[in-house]
Symmetry: C2
Subunit: 161 residues, 2 copies
Amino acid sequence: MQLETLKNQFEFYLKQRGCKITKSRFDIIDVIARYGSHFEIEDLVNWITQENKKIASRSTVYRTVKLLQEFGAIREVIKLNNRTIYEFIAGKPHHEHLVCVECGKIIEFNKEKIEELQEEVCKEYDFVPLNHRLEIFGICSDCRSKKDENRKPAPVSKSDT
Amino acid sequence: MQLETLKNQFEFYLKQRGCKITKSRFDIIDVIARYGSHFEIEDLVNWITQENKKIASRSTVYRTVKLLQEFGAIREVIKLNNRTIYEFIAGKPHHEHLVCVECGKIIEFNKEKIEELQEEVCKEYDFVPLNHRLEIFGICSDCRSKKDENRKPAPVSKSDT
DNA sequence: AAGCTATTGCAAATGAGATTCATTTGTTCT
DNA sequence: AGAACAAATGAATCTCATTTGCAATAGCTT
């Protein structure tokens, strides 16, 4: 199973780094892999608390999230206002995000051509890319239709004033 | 002159919004237009303090920066750790950034094709884009050559041990 | 099991940015 | 010009995400 492989790799990584294999770390990678395509620190705390009936210390979550970023299982994808949204990437091809500023919905997309063009740019500037983030902020179709409804509070077809 | 035009437009914008024409606001747009291709709040505070011999209140700077974003003269371009870097955009064509994680250097680039592809994606998802941000984090050539030097501390050609 | 070291959890610190409110300053009206 | 009102300012305070110091705890090694 995928999740087991991931955990094994993580264990290997931790040992390599001289880090210890602890329950918290595996609890965290576990909920991320099962629940979390996109998540914030707060989500992790909630998920773990729900499952384990034990509050995960926020500091440990922060520390582990950093570790998991270095390991490469997750990455910061969205920075909006003072919120940081991470995503679980294990195995997924790189992709970018549309972020609805009304409802917060996140739509993933993948445009190979954009990636290629980025590589091209980096070569031009003799720049070695480590990672990148493309965020398109805007309004999704759902929110737009909701707005349209609000703009027509008294449609002719309806009965009363 | 460019700067005057900008200030006039800003004045017009403020009046439209029912805002007042104040010295602080013009001090701020002034230093941005003259000094600041890329800047942080802290930079604005410093520049204004240096020029005016009067400390600009941080709150006013924050408030004005928000106003200038709405006006469209500046935008948030980089979010790295807990730092927000803005840039002065008046008139500039939209462009993206390479950010060196070693030295903090920012390289601007413009790839029309990337913009077009983004539009395409938005259409696909029936998403109306308001703005976007593409950050490529990596290591610039300067920093790479510095690193290489450090890796060869005792080149054979040099004389002593 | 002992002993060492990394990890944890808590509480306190930090730091960017927002907010409150009394005072000041633009703007408008006469 | 001056009165009257609304908006802007600065200082202090607050908020909220994230980090850090430290004492207690838990993995690992032998």
